[in-house]
Symmetry: C2
Subunit: 305 residues, 2 copies
Amino acid sequence: MRLPQLTAAQAPLTESIDAVDEHGQTRRIHIPAERDLTVYVDKRELVTLMTLGAHPEWLTLGYLLNQRLVASVDAIESVTVDWDVNAVSVKTREGIDRIEERTARRVVTTGCGQGSVFGGLMDDLDRVELPPGVLRQSQLYAIVDAIRLKESTYKSAGSVHACALFRGTELALFVEDVGRHNAVDTIAGWMALNEGPHAPPLRGSLPPEGADPAWGGPAPDRAAPQLDKVFYTTGRLTSEMVIKSAQMGVAAVVSRSGITQMGLQVAQRVGLCAVGRATNKHFLCYANPQRLLWDAVPPPAPERR
Amino acid sequence: MRLPQLTAAQAPLTESIDAVDEHGQTRRIHIPAERDLTVYVDKRELVTLMTLGAHPEWLTLGYLLNQRLVASVDAIESVTVDWDVNAVSVKTREGIDRIEERTARRVVTTGCGQGSVFGGLMDDLDRVELPPGVLRQSQLYAIVDAIRLKESTYKSAGSVHACALFRGTELALFVEDVGRHNAVDTIAGWMALNEGPHAPPLRGSLPPEGADPAWGGPAPDRAAPQLDKVFYTTGRLTSEMVIKSAQMGVAAVVSRSGITQMGLQVAQRVGLCAVGRATNKHFLCYANPQRLLWDAVPPPAPERR
């Protein structure tokens, strides 16, 4: 794999401002920074993203990958961010085939931030085969706990979304942005740089044939391997979030928030384990509970029985 | 004003599904519906919106108005929603001038949902002059309380954003959608149908010259009129949300959430009173506190002194 040349143009993530509270008292608070970043591909203006600016190079790479405009980082020669002009210049090795045509259709999606994908949202989805393995309940609790302990822009300034990639129970990358699709795209860019071609692994299998896509499948095998890659997001499990996870070869997504109808449909279709409302010991598994291994069932809460 | 002909194609807002909780118990829950709606203007495909489907006609009108593609509802002959094909057909009276050119630039913004506006985000902003008047603290508390009491899709299913338009302290319209920009656009569409041309009133004045744009301006006049129109949103005060409010002639926005840096900059520039973190009796005024009238200061909380 030939890696692209990248700048490392991180910008300050928060700004201090004065606000006035309900007592009329001025309080010094932090708010998240927010900058526009216009993406140029081979000198052609593609899109303007609004971003916190934490990892603009990974964001740009992940954006191009998740929009299916490039198949792997091999195709990219360099990514050069210049905050003086709020622009990122992407140089490809051989151009992007039919770029005019492929960026002509526009779908405005539900998510936060980068809620716009170039047409063909569902393209390639049927070719995705997610890796086997189960999400252990104990692993899920470790993930939620790791996020809880993370010092973050959210804690200091609020109003940002966070995404994280876990390997097993270990936090591999934690990203925040003003839009959560920026956060997931940034992780996609990082993964592509660190884990080879951006394509879901084609090993493994979907849930067994004949099993109800959502419920009633066979009980998980307690000897089944623990899922290696798990995705965490503070945002809702929308169709776009589920699609992007599947495209990244991630078979389980955990959210602090809920799920939308199309997010659920896509998760069922691709065999992705979708878990939401994950706080403390609580959660709800919306899709593919046969991929959950209940190894840490908490004692029943008296008030709920 | 000639009003367009509209269908009234409300779709079911929630769906019941089974989810599995941390005890392995199946629970029947509601999730928000989510549908794609492709907008055709004079038979030309413009965009696909992901929406809850509560008020697709107002959403479409508000989208066209807030994108500045039409100047008023007068320009629209009919809006016809057909859920069988997930499409809305807009017929204009005289076409949209230079539509190709005006929809060519794309800015992907921070917000939820309709996070994409056609270029020229800041266009016309300097021509906006917001109406005079103050937001009374008692009015703010009444607004937060009215929202708290509202039965909603959020309460039954979660994962939606809500916006509301208040006239004084009275709830005029409450809208939820899977994307909060859909919710604000829906309100814009409703306002345009019910309140004449979609243009901010040009009476009144900006904050006095020479006053610090954010702080330290003159104390508000206790005899100043109470602001007639106040906007409430559960979402963050992003630049797009503030711009849309200003375009709608609304001089105060109240949010349950925080503000982003560009949201703050725009609020300061147009003289909009931006209030966030509004829950119970707490809030923070981020911009133009001289438009707040402190008529209901709560007793100091002992733990914060």
